[in-house]
Subunit: 156 residues, 2 copies
Amino acid sequence: MTITFQAPSSDKAELEGDGAFTPRFDSDGLVTAVVTDIRDGELLMVAHMNAEALALTIETGVAHYYSRSRAKLWKKGETSGNLQTVHEVRTDCDQDAVWLKVSMSGHDAACHTGRRSCFYRAVKKSDGGAVLEIQDQQRHFDPEHVYSGHDETGKR
Amino acid sequence: MTITFQAPSSDKAELEGDGAFTPRFDSDGLVTAVVTDIRDGELLMVAHMNAEALALTIETGVAHYYSRSRAKLWKKGETSGNLQTVHEVRTDCDQDAVWLKVSMSGHDAACHTGRRSCFYRAVKKSDGGAVLEIQDQQRHFDPEHVYSGHDETGKR
């Protein structure tokens, strides 16, 4: 890892301008990563990155995250083959989130359930509560088969 | 607030299926909200929601968030007029993030800097570090004027 990040400025104008990228990691050392498909802008997934994952992503052009459930660096697609090539990285006004525009290899699926996007369910109002309706049933791969013997079974 | 959320299931298949929406709030009681424009899918902002903000959003069809910096419920656009009408809410496989597809009123700008999107800067590699390049200079409103005398000057 050669890229290092400086501490964010306490000056708001500086934080919102151009100049150095100074990500604002939270108390767990993470920023939020929003991942969309460069083809059509579809939202594929939301994940988290620590400084190492962010530096590796910028350096290599391949998406790396930090798995909170496994508490370690996570090269997306290492097990499933669904690597993400990063075409553009953006950050937001207060630099605590990044947006990756990616193209997928492998099965063209970002979700560990085998679907293209993790956001395959709509939320609907229902009698004082809310229910989920599945919008995408297409599995691009069989999770049982792909993750058999591996621990990359959850997206985090 | 009439919508209440049940505790998430510890059963993975249940969490990933249809049935009740059982958001997985983090230790601060928040889920991540990704907001895109229904017109063209542009990523507008990333914010956070507590149970109250999420319930109000689902119930009223107008986006509500939780401001971490101000530690209170935040009806987006209350000061600036840039309300967000929610056309669809989705959630991801482990139900700790939601995706809102919205249309904006007011100045057609989600960012407190006056830009359409908070993600107006690209991150580029540069000599062992990373720098920011502004991609969108168009201000849809003058923040100084719009937020004068109000405290909604930061997006969180």
